[in-house]
């Protein structure tokens, strides 16, 4: 249970928890775009301050943020290292063959580090403050214009919520099966290649069988309760668009303009 934070939902009642999920998804997509646009200390600083504000408004602790970043630490470090070693502009501090450390390389590395971190924190704030169901509803709302092109938006939304609904169930089952196979002497991640393939099979096959069984049962349950793919349906959980949502959208758009204006050309 050490991967508990990234992608998981922490129920709460903060300002950000109460925003419309569609707004939150849209805002996060926009903010990630702005982060990709940013290219100097000034606009990164602005985005960082904005994230800090979001952390305060969502009552997220710094500890939680750190734990969210931790699984990505190696990826970030690797990218940063590549930047440091293969950047080749600016003053050269150290050189060994084609590998050199330069002032521009170092600066780029730090900026990339910040960019990664900001994007991960941004995504984490969304999943921490929005339940899987709300995310599905938000996505449905955002893609709803596509229904005029004949895309079955409602069906896609149901598919998303079913998929999200079954993730914890399957993770649970995976744990149980893993425990059962360990008890039968499997030690995952050791032994020769044939042994490893067999270990993995002893996990994957039962999980596949189990997924099919869940799918069958669910299909039966849906037909038994009169589910029809193309019916119009209302939803139990209603999300209203409030003045705060509009306000947030405006603020995010202004932030985007500022980031682009501050760009180093």
């Amino acid at each position: 249970m050490n991967h508990v934070v990234f992608g998981s939902y922490l129920p709460g009642n903060s300002f950000i928890h109460r925003l419309n999920p569609a707004l939150k998804i849209l805002a996060v997509l926009l903010l990630i775009t702005w982060t990709l646009f940013a290219n100097n200390w000034l606009n990164y600083g602005l985005l960082a301050i904005f994230i800090l504000l979001q952390l305060i408004l969502s009552a997220t602790s710094v500890k939680t943020v750190f734990r969210a970043i931790r699984p990505f630490l190696w990826l970030i470090m690797f990218t940063v290292l590549i930047q440091i070693l293969f950047g080749n502009q600016g003053t050269i501090y150290w050189q060994w063959g084609p590998i050199k450390i330069t002032s521009v390389g170092l600066e780029m590395a730090v900026l990339i580090f910040i960019r990664f971190t900001l994007i991960i924190i941004e995504a984490t704030i969304l999943t921490l403050t929005t339940s899987p169901n709300a995310i599905a509803t938000g996505v449905e709302y955002l893609i709803s214009p596509l229904k005029y092109l004949g895309v079955p938006v409602a069906t896609i939304s149901i598919m998303i919520s079913i998929a999200l609904r079954f993730i914890p169930t399957l993770v649970d089952e995976l744990h149980t099966i893993m425990n059962a196979q360990k008890s039968r002497g499997v030690s995952f991640g050791s032994g020769g290649i044939i042994k490893r393939v067999k270990s993995i099979c002893s996990l994957i096959i039962p999980i596949l069988v189990s997924s099919f069984r869940h799918a069958d049962n669910l299909a039966d349950a849906l037909s038994a309760s009169g589910y029809e793919a193309n019916a119009t349906r209302s939803s139990y959980q209603q999300f209203h668009w409030t003045i705060f949502d509009t306000l947030c959208l405006v603020v995010v758009l202004i932030l985007g303009i500022l980031v682009i204006l501050m760009r180093k050309i």
């Binding site: 508990v4 059962a180 189990s210």
Partner: protein, 284 residues
């Protein structure tokens, strides 16, 4: 000494250092000797599954000592010792048929012995012997396990653990979802292992008839703590009003309401009948 299993003041925390932290076990003391038949009862969430996962090192105690056959199990236990303990402590989870995966019944049952270092031939011999003992006929050995009936699948899965010839067998509600016949078959099989091979049995169950008829010791967990650890007869006398009672005890109480007081609390149907006969002789 002489204890096969020794838990000393054990705590278990789920998700420590997170907002989801949960104390699932608290101050558990449990000593089990070879050949005991122990049942673990308690309501859902009382920590039964957590407790048994400590017994073969699937989880390690947050605090306290867990010792199996004199080997201490903690996060520093060597892999070799851990494998040794896992071959000695067989573990059968809820709905064990979910762990089946091999092409044939025989392959699936040989999987455990192979992992614990038996040769291919030895493993197959063990597998065949075990399959027959759980009532799977040799015609089925080369079938796919997924083609069998629910009850057969469960027996194959159980054979997959028994083939490792464990000294201790730990079971988490092994009869859930079986029909009356399948249930009886499995319980009798477990009883036979206990009586003939002196295999130690530790079984989580919700069925009080199983507790009274099969076990000789019952551990009652409540909110992660051991509330009682006594023989079933004493347990059902002490907790008459808090737990659902086995049939024999229910009959005892009904008779008592009608003014017939048996000399003892019966645990099995046979005991009940014997006590009633005694009583009726006395009346005559």
């Amino acid at each position: 000494m002489d204890y096969q299993i020794n838990l000393n003041n054990v705590d278990y925390l789920y998700a420590p250092n997170t907002p989801f932290v949960h104390l699932a076990l608290h101050g558990i003391n449990l000593k089990v000797k070879k050949g005991e038949f122990l049942t673990i009862i308690g309501s859902t969430g009382s920590g039964k599954s957590t407790l048994i996962k400590l017994l073969n090192g699937l989880q390690t105690a947050t605090r306290g000592i867990v010792e199996i056959n004199g080997i201490e199990l903690n996060s520093k236990t060597k892999k070799k010792n851990l494998q040794e303990i896992r071959s000695q402590v067989g573990m059968i989870f809820q709905s064990p048929e979910k762990q089946l995966f091999a092409d044939t019944v025989l392959d699936d049952v040989s999987f455990g012995p192979l992992n614990f270092g038996y040769s291919k031939k030895e493993s197959e011999t063990l597998a065949k012997k075990t399959l027959l003992s759980v009532g799977i006929k040799s015609e089925l050995f080369n079938r796919s396990p997924f083609e069998l009936s629910g009850g057969q699948m469960r027996r194959v899965a159980i054979a997959g653990v028994l083939a490792m010839q464990p000294q201790v067998l730990v079971l988490d509600e092994p009869t859930v979802g079986l029909d009356a016949n399948g249930k009886k078959n499995i319980l009798e099989l477990i009883k036979k292992l206990n009586v003939k091979n002196k295999t130690t049995i530790i079984m989580v169950t919700h069925d009080m008839n199983v507790v009274s008829e099969y076990s000789n010791r019952v551990v009652y967990l409540n909110k992660g703590q051991v509330q009682a650890d006594i023989i079933p007869k004493q347990f059902f006398a002490d907790y008459q009003d808090t737990v659902i009672l086995p049939d024999a005890v229910k009959m005892y109480k009904l008779l008592k309401q009608h003014g017939i007081v048996l000399d003892e609390l019966p645990m099995t149907k046979n005991e009940l009948i014997k006590l009633i006969m005694q009583k009726s002789k006395m009346v005559r």
